[in-house]
């Protein structure tokens, strides 16, 4: 039997396991997925937790999301030994492989910023990218009596890079809804030089922040949090005070990757951006947020990349040349509050542009424009995620980015 081992049963690992199980003969291939716990978290749902009256269930057993014929092993991974082709577990177990797919994602690391963890963590300092964190933010917003609320990003790259903006828009709408917007000053603090990474989208989103009277503090790279004085301090010694801080901690890949010599300075695995094959070890691939490709760390990327990856992987293990090239396609709904959202669609070469998606003039979704239909698209995505995306089925949208329906703004277009 040939052995494929997949590390991580999150969005990318689950999708890839299911896609490959259908393509690789069961009597020739054993597929083993290793994860450290039993439940799969619907991460896009975390954003809504602070604002929902009744929480929607976000967890499902990983086992139920993997096809029969995929082995699931629960255990803490302590090392990946590329020379011996083996994965070591914290309990002493060793799992040998012929091919390894790394899908251990990226994780918020509040421990990487001095002063962030401590007595004020989850009291006046919060994060919303974790299950516990999202519920703590909900409670903090409900009891917030007014003052300065700071939404903050430590550094790039982060997973779902639009989520901090969405959180900011939803928070603004939330306090407006409670009739206390004038008692809450909202400040958006970013290490970037604008609201978003790509110029045209940054302009649109910056304008939305402006209209909502949200102050944007740019080029702010935090050195430490002074939790006692409730102040963010940057490397160039600027200070921003807060009453309530909702931060996005530094995101890093799994520590064992750095320790095993497979990761870069943030523990991301350097791969070829078109095939996701490790640059150092040809029998290792890294999919989803765990790799270093220059596109968003997002579930949509894991999905779009999964399609060409599965085809390439089958060619590779047959000794053939890999002929499919991933283009960096990403697609993100951006909730803007009041039951509306906008949508961005882009890849390595084309930044998010205005227009209609995915069917040209018919839409029905609008790019870089706030609409209610976009919001319902985002809501519907939850069903798509569990029932189409994770099982590794095709979605009714192109896998590679298409220019259909997109146009370059010749001048400043009102969103």
């Amino acid at each position: 039997m040939r052995r494929l081992v997949i590390l991580g049963a999150g969005t990318a690992g689950t999708t890839v396991a299911n896609k490959l199980r259908r393509r690789l003969a069961p009597d020739e291939w054993r597929i083993t997925v290793i994860d450290h716990d039993r439940d799969h978290l619907y991460q896009p749902g975390l954003l809504f937790v602070p604002f929902e009256r009744v929480p929607t269930p976000l967890l499902k057993p990983r086992r139920s999301l993997l096809q029969n014929g995929v082995q699931l092993l629960i255990g803490e991974i302590s090392a990946a030994d590329a020379d011996r082709k083996a994965v070591r577990l914290a309990d002493g177990g060793v799992v040998g492989y012929d091919y390894l797919v790394i899908a251990t994602g990226t994780t918020p690391r509040p421990d990487q910023t001095p002063g962030m963890l401590g007595p004020e963590w989850r009291r006046s300092i919060h994060d919303f990218y974790t299950y516990e964190g999202a519920f703590a933010v909900r409670d903090a917003l409900r009891t917030f009596s007014g003052g300065r609320l700071v939404v903050h990003i430590v550094d790039q790259p982060i997973k779902c890079p639009v989520a901090p903006l969405e959180f900011t828009f939803l928070t603004e709408a939330y306090f407006r809804g409670r009739g206390m917007r004038d008692q809450v000053e909202i400040v958006y603090v970013t290490p970037l030089d604008g609201a978003f990474t790509k110029p045209i989208a940054s302009r649109y989103l910056g304008r939305l922040l402006d209209e909502r009277k949200i102050v944007v503090e740019t080029d702010f790279l935090v050195e430490r949090v002074d939790a006692e004085r409730k102040t963010l301090v940057s490397y160039d010694e600027r200070e921003i005070g807060y009453d309530l801080l909702v931060t996005v901690p530094l995101n890093m890949g799994a520590d064992f990757l750095g320790e095993s010599g497979l990761g870069d300075e943030l523990n991301y695995v350097p791969v070829d951006k078109h095939t996701l094959q490790s640059k150092a070890h040809p029998d290792i691939f890294a999919v989803g947020d765990a790799n270093d490709i220059p596109t968003s760390k997002a579930g949509s990327v894991a999905h779009f990349a999964g399609e060409s990856f599965a085809e390439n992987f089958c060619q590779y293990v047959d000794g053939r040349a890999m002929t499919h090239r991933f283009d960096g396609h990403a697609n993100c709904f951006v909730e803007t509050g009041d039951g509306k959202a906008l949508l961005i669609d882009f890849n390595y070469d084309t930044e998010p542009l205005p227009g209609q998606y995915p069917f040209g003039r018919i839409g029905p979704l609008s790019l870089l424009r706030e609409t209610k239909v976009n919001h319902w698209g985002k809501v519907a995505f939850r069903w798509i995620y569990w029932h189409l995306l994770l099982p590794g089925r095709r979605l009714p949208v192109p896998t590679l980015m298409s220019m259909t329906g997109k146009h370059r703004p010749d001048e400043e277009v009102r969103p």
């Binding site: 990474t197 300075e265 596109t295």
Partner: protein, 104 residues
């Protein structure tokens, strides 16, 4: 992309003034680019610039501040002293490399 002439040399730059041709950069040019930013290059500046140039050759992209700090051992705080305000951009500019993508 634009072509500009600096002294006797023709340079290819993008819309923000970053060099687009790796080979057009020289030590002397670095000094001139730094001077435009009001920076006088010291040995410490050069350590960062040399690292950026070498790292770009092997990885094909401009190192982030965190990478310079972790791999080259120059603390981020010091990079802010050497290239005040926007160190990642300023370093790339002086080193003749593309603006760091920072994020996507």
């Amino acid at each position: 992309m634009t072509v500009v002439t600096l002294g006797d040399t023709r340079l290819h730059i993008d819309s923000e003034g970053f060099l687009t041709e790796y080979g057009e950069w020289t030590d002397e040019l670095a000094g001139q680019l730094a001077a435009q930013l009001g920076i006088e290059l010291t040995d410490e500046h050069w350590k960062a610039i040399r690292f950026l140039r070498t790292d770009y050759l092997s990885r094909g992209e401009t190192a982030t501040l965190r990478r310079v700090s972790t791999v080259a051992g120059i603390p981020i705080k010091q990079l802010f002293v050497l290239f005040p305000g926007k160190p990642a951009k300023k370093m790339a500019y002086v080193a003749g490399l593309p603006k760091p993508r920072g994020c996507v």
